[in-house]
């Protein structure tokens, strides 16, 4: 017991700096945020924020009230982020899997190619999404130039304004995101023993048969983790929209993070913004719960 007590104290000393950082940057702000979400806090009440009018759940009713602008904008942004995920996650995964299967073969220059495909992942978001913003420009952009050359369009398309903006952001994020999934899937593929394939080949199994009965089941744990993580990261989506829309937080394809930024720092409604932020937190916590459960299941 004495030893246990000593261990507790030593461990506490070791994790104290990390614990303080977590306390000040995560725990206290999140609790404060929940508190603010019940207040009518705007720029006028900010100086005396603790005595700002307490409005109970009104902010929450407002952000889900389709009769109000703020409600329509927020619900639209929730739909936008779901749509964004429904497009980028499956497309990104399929590309990543296809390339992982491809790169798992032996060919000259394999190491270089493997390093090369990681480039999009390691290049800073701000750099790459600015470049994609350039590529999607209507009159001077590469996308329209190529589409025109192959005859798919006659007139330049406006990509970054209006509903087509979602398609542009999805394309750019898929391009930026698949290499990481591919990396994880490749490491999963390398963990599959070659003997399994040899045995299947002796039985004369086709490529599809081998994929169905060996590769896919063996990759499933990695796939599951990667998909759950993608769902969580999906709700973090900010950089790609912020940069490609040129910092315009009022776009019709805006995701919640942009809407919250606008509500709090442009419209200066901190209470409403915090209520939206709490909703986002709950959504992410829900998925994190799934992820923890699925890890537990994996261990048993």
């Amino acid at each position: 017991m004495v030893l246990n007590q000593r261990n507790n104290i030593t461990a506490f000393k070791f994790i104290l700096p990390a614990l303080l950082a977590m306390l000040f940057v995560h725990v206290i702000p999140i609790l404060t945020g929940m508190f603010i979400s019940f207040l009518d806090l705007d720029i006028k009440t900010l100086t005396q924020w603790l005595s700002a009018p307490f409005v109970g759940l009104r902010n929450y009713f407002d952000i889900f009230n389709s009769g109000m602008d703020v409600g329509r904008v927020f619900m639209r942004s929730l739909w936008n982020v779901v749509l964004y995920g429904l497009l980028t996650i499956p497309i990104g995964y399929v590309i990543a899997l296809a390339v992982a299967l491809l790169l798992n073969n032996k060919f000259p220059g394999r190491t270089i190619v493997r390093g090369l495909v990681l480039l999009p992942y390691i290049t800073p978001d701000s750099v790459m999404y600015n470049v994609w913003r350039f590529i999607f420009q209507a009159r001077i952009g590469l996308v329209n130039k190529l589409l025109l050359q192959i005859g798919l369009i006659q007139e330049p398309l406006i990509w970054l304004v209006g509903d087509r903006a979602m398609a542009s952001v999805v394309m750019a994020s898929v391009w930026k995101g698949w290499p990481f999934t591919c990396l994880i899937l490749l490491s999963g593929l390398q963990g599959i023993s070659a003997e399994l394939y040899e045995a299947a080949e002796i039985d004369g199994a086709s490529w599809w048969k081998k994929f169905r009965s060996i590769t896919w089941p063996m990759l499933w744990p990695v796939t599951r983790t990667s998909l759950i993580m993608s769902c969580i990261w999906n709700f973090h989506a900010f950089n790609q929209f912020y940069v490609m829309l040129g910092g315009d937080t009022s776009s019709s394809v805006a995701v919640p993070s942009l809407v919250i930024l606008r509500e709090a720092f442009t419209n200066l409604h901190y209470g409403l913004g915090s209520a939206m932020a709490v909703i986002m937190l709950l959504v992410v916590l829900l998925f994190t719960g799934f992820s923890i459960l699925s890890r537990k299941e994996e261990l048993h």
Binding site: A21, V25, F107, G115, I140, N239, V243, A277, V278
Partner: protein, 291 residues
């Protein structure tokens, strides 16, 4: 078809596939590099509808202007300095703090250890937007109450980013430490080292790959962050990722300058990555699959 023919055909398809992948990865980079050597006039006057004005892969009159004037309209070099200080500071603190915490998680049995692990795992998932508003308000309040400026200061940003980097860094280093036999540091302690010496003299050298991965992860995280930087930085601390957006305003689009700046901003990250590719990949894969 004979066996060798089929093998050859498979090889051809394989190479075509690999080429397609490599090309689609490289196209945006080539376009970026090509654009960075074009004059603003050439980019602005381009028009895909007119054959003679259509933007080209090879600049009509290649120029180094965009690179020479990189600090002129937008103070890009100052932003680079700010980013280097903030990312460097984040890297240092995140390594030191996560090393201690990871050591405790890996080597000591303590109460509520499981709960601490779980809270690390969950905070890593929190979207920044969930605590940006209260964090901003608390920043202002701290200044008001204590007179310590937090907004638009280097250390305010370093503190913020270090805290962002910690959960993933701690879990990643814990994994590395778990793979080192405990007898190593027990022996050191028998030989008269205290715990701190055991960490820095004995364990630190063996887990260099893990430490490197954590260092780079923290650096890149801070270098790339946009959301908090857009609210918490100002004239003195603006970082590169925000600076890049200043080239395009409603009045003027300086695409050439932006693309040249993009290349400069990517350089530190790409250098880091190329030198330490293996460590980073191992670290990332471990972190993503084992958590």
């Amino acid at each position: 078809m004979t066996y060798t023919n089929r093998k050859k055909l498979k090889k051809v398809f394989l190479m075509i596939g690999v080429a397609a992948v490599v090309i689609s990865v490289l196209i945006p980079y080539l376009w970026m590099v090509s654009g960075s050597f074009k004059s603003t006039l050439e980019i602005q006057s381009a028009d895909i509808m007119k054959e003679e004005l259509s933007p080209r892969w090879i600049p009509r009159e290649p120029t180094f202007d965009n690179y020479m004037k990189v600090n002129k309209t937008v103070r890009m070099l100052d932003y680079m300095k700010n980013s280097l200080i903030i990312s460097g500071g984040t890297m240092f603190f995140s390594v030191v703090i996560s090393l201690f915490a990871a050591y405790a998680l890996s080597r000591i049995n303590f109460r509520l250890k499981r709960l601490y692990e779980l809270s690390l795992f969950s905070t890593q998932m929190f979207p920044g937007i969930a605590f940006l508003i209260p964090y901003f308000i608390l920043f202002s309040k701290v200044y008001k109450l204590t007179g310590i400026p937090m907004k638009d200061t280097y250390w305010g940003m370093i503190f913020t980013y270090t805290s962002f980097a910690l959960p993933f860094s701690i879990l990643m280093l814990r994994n590395f430490l778990d793979s080192i036999p405990i007898s190593l540091d027990e022996q050191a302690q028998i030989d008269g080292c205290n715990r701190r010496q055991a960490i820095f003299r004995v364990l630190f050298p063996v887990i260099t790959p893990g430490v490197t991965a954590v260092a780079i992860y923290s650096f890149i995280m801070a270098w790339n962050e946009i959301l908090f930087a857009s609210i918490l930085t100002g004239r003195h601390t603006k970082t590169v990722s925000l600076g890049l957006m200043e080239y395009i305003t409603t009045q003027q689009s300086r695409w050439g300058g932006m693309l040249a700046a993009c290349i400069l901003v990517s350089v530190p990250v790409v250098i880091f990555f190329t030198i330490l590719q293996k460590q980073i990949i191992d670290g990332l894969v471990q972190g993503a699959t084992k958590g």
